[in-house]
């Protein structure tokens, strides 16, 4: 059993921070509870430094090859840790002023992020499952953190029941795979073993893949498994909704990418139609329902569902051709990362507005150009980017998926590309609802909105990043290029 301690450094630092936060919290007086946040922030930054120290160090394996740190893993680890910094920054004032249990919140949040960080390195069914549960379990509690609010309780209970149900379905699928392959749990071994099964065993393997896919479909809120997401996001504290919409769902995609492109790649003829259906249903339903939303978090939830549809589309592009698969994989990774930036930004702007208007109706954004100009410009950029309109990063993300779909050829590729195009156009209508309120309507209360400095900083950085990605796509495309080499190595 070889353990590469340097490769595990980010996880160790984060785990140590988690324990420290909990211990420090129980000894802090009530007034100073918020101090758990800077401690957590230092730990996350330390963990990020650990990730950076591993760049260029090659592929490193621990625990008999079940835990692999390669460039794909580092890319996602870095992404999750930056997300953690952002969510912590959004949380400070929100939780300090709202009368929450702060120490417990930061403990749970960091534990969830530890699961996220473990996810892209887990190359074994067992570890994958553990990482996914580590992401979800604290999430159930965090969703219900506004204890006095019925909606928050509903959010927690719904998320919990759906989470447990999807886990059970996925675990059943995994146990079938274990049986079909004769005891393989490593993803690469499963890929080899599944290619050898035929006849009735192959049917069983298909059923197993279907169960696993359904389990993950719940996690990434794909239609028809999406109904929990809007209620949960709406009821949760806004920073928690940001965490769920970005970190939790990206963690789901990180796991799904590894499973589909490495373990189940040989069975793509079976699961490509499933993903084609999931993708079309997810983006269409997400966009159509989003058109009718009047509450911003619900709008973002449905927009997130539609965005999941675009990402799922890349799975439906898998063929026997390795080069085209690499394209699809690169498009998926790039889109996921850009999606993370723009969605975090949108939630940051929402956190800023929630201080004056806790109900967060679309009309509450009226006149934001006067009351909080930076937030207003930022939110406009995020919305335009989510719609996939230049000059923003979201445009490149969509273009890459579109290109990959066209290059795949056949009837499926172009057909999916057309569906995606129509959906993107439809989505512009609801994404522009918020900017219209911000710039064309006047606020009822024209006094300046007091926005915490950290939240303004997050909005500004996310906005600049999105525009920078548009201007310098080469730099960003490199990241996805690096990651593709590894995920498809097997």
């Amino acid at each position: 059993m070889n353990i590469d301690y340097h490769a595990l450094l980010p996880e160790f630092i984060l785990a140590g921070t988690i324990l420290l936060v909990l211990v420090v919290d129980v000894f802090l007086p009530e007034r100073a509870k918020w101090f758990a946040m800077p401690i957590g922030l230092i730990g996350v930054v330390g963990s990020l430094a650990g990730v950076l120290s591993l760049i260029g160090a090659g592929t490193r394996e621990s625990f008999g090859g079940t835990y692999v740190v390669d460039e794909f893993a580092l890319l996602f680890k870095g992404f999750f840790l930056v997300t953690a910094v952002v969510v912590l920054a959004l949380s400070l004032r929100y939780f300090r002023e709202g009368g929450f249990y702060q120490g417990e919140y930061y403990f749970l949040l960091l534990t969830s992020f530890l699961g996220c960080v473990m996810m892209p390195s887990s190359r074994d069914l067992l570890l994958l499952f553990l990482a996914l549960e580590l992401v979800s379990a604290p999430g159930f509690l965090m969703a219900a953190f506004r204890k006095g609010d019925v909606k928050s309780n509903e959010a927690g209970v719904k998320f919990f029941i759906i989470g447990v149900l999807s886990t059970a379905v996925m675990l059943f699928g995994m146990s079938l795979i274990y049986g079909v392959t004769g005891g393989a749990t490593k993803l690469a071994e499963i890929g080899v073993a599944l290619d050898g099964v035929s006849g009735e065993m192959e049917t069983l393997a298909f059923a197993a893949i279907l169960f696993v896919v359904v389990g993950f479909a719940f996690k990434v809120s794909a239609v028809p498994f999406q109904f929990w997401a809007p209620d949960t996001y709406e009821g949760s504290p806004v920073p928690v909704a940001a965490f769920l919409a970005v970190a939790s769902s990206v963690a789901g995609f990180a796991g799904l990418l590894q499973l589909m492109f490495v373990a189940f790649a040989g069975q793509h003829e079976f699961w490509v139609p499933i993903f084609a259906f999931l993708s079309i249903a997810t983006m269409t339903v997400g966009n159509l329902v989003a058109l009718q939303q009047t509450q911003v978090v619900r709008l973002l939830a449905y927009s997130g569902i539609a965005q999941s549809g675009y990402i799922l589309l890349t799975f439906a592009l898998v063929t026997d051709d390795a080069a085209s698969n690499r394209n699809a994989f690169a498009a998926a990774v790039t889109y996921i990362l850009i999606y993370g930036v723009m969605n975090l930004g949108a939630f940051a702007a929402t956190v800023a507005v929630s201080r004056r208007h806790p109900t967060l109706g679309v009309a509450d954004f009226a006149g934001l150009r006067e009351t909080a100009p930076v937030i207003a410009v930022g939110m406009a950029v995020f919305m335009i980017s989510l719609a996939g309109v230049p000059p923003t990063g979201g445009f490149w993300g969509k273009l890459l998926i579109f290109q990959a779909a066209i290059e795949r050829g056949g009837t499926l590729g172009p057909a999916l590309a057309v569906v995606m195009l129509v959906n993107s156009v439809a989505s512009v209508f609801y994404y522009l609802v918020v900017p219209r309120q911000m710039f064309l309507r006047d606020a009822a209360d024209p006094s300046r909105l007091r926005v915490p400095a950290l939240v303004t900083a997050v909005v500004a950085v996310a906005m600049v990043t999105l525009v920078a990605i548009f201007v310098l796509p080469n730099v960003f495309a490199r990241l996805a290029e690096i990651s593709t080499l590894v995920g498809l190595g097997a």
Binding site: L19, L22, F27
Partner: protein, 121 residues
């Protein structure tokens, strides 16, 4: 592959047969069975005895403490026994690892203590 999807025909047939079976059974029962409702029949069935109390009974919050402490010590003992069995063959690394593990669980106990859940009153 179309082979695979066409075998869903069997699933469809089974579903139809199942639905028919239920429909026929219920229709027959409705036609044949005597209908004599009374109040007694509406009470909750609780192993044959008259039900006592409300369905929504409350459980004491102290059970939370039980649950909390049980998880800490249960997990600890589940891993301690096999650990003790293989300790000799692994050596000091195992001691260090188990110390870390117990340390993490001890933080849980510390948390419970500071939150005052160890006081019974």
């Amino acid at each position: 592959m179309s082979d695979y999807y066409s075998s869903y025909g069997v699933v469809l047939a089974v579903l139809t047969a199942g639905a028919l079976l239920v429909a026929v059974a219920f229709t027959t029962a409705r036609l044949v069975a005597p209908n004599a409702p009374n109040r007694e029949k509406l009470t909750t069935y609780e192993c044959g005895i008259d039900p006592v109390g409300d369905g929504w009974s409350q459980s004491h919050v102290r059970y939370y403490v039980y649950g909390f402490l049980f998880v800490i010590f249960d997990v600890e003992s589940v891993f301690l026994f096999p650990w003790a069995r293989v300790l000799e063959s692994i050596g000091y690394a195992a001691v260090v690892e188990m110390t870390i593990f117990i340390g993490i669980l001890a933080v849980g106990l510390l948390y419970a203590w500071r939150k005052g859940v160890l006081r019974w009153a």
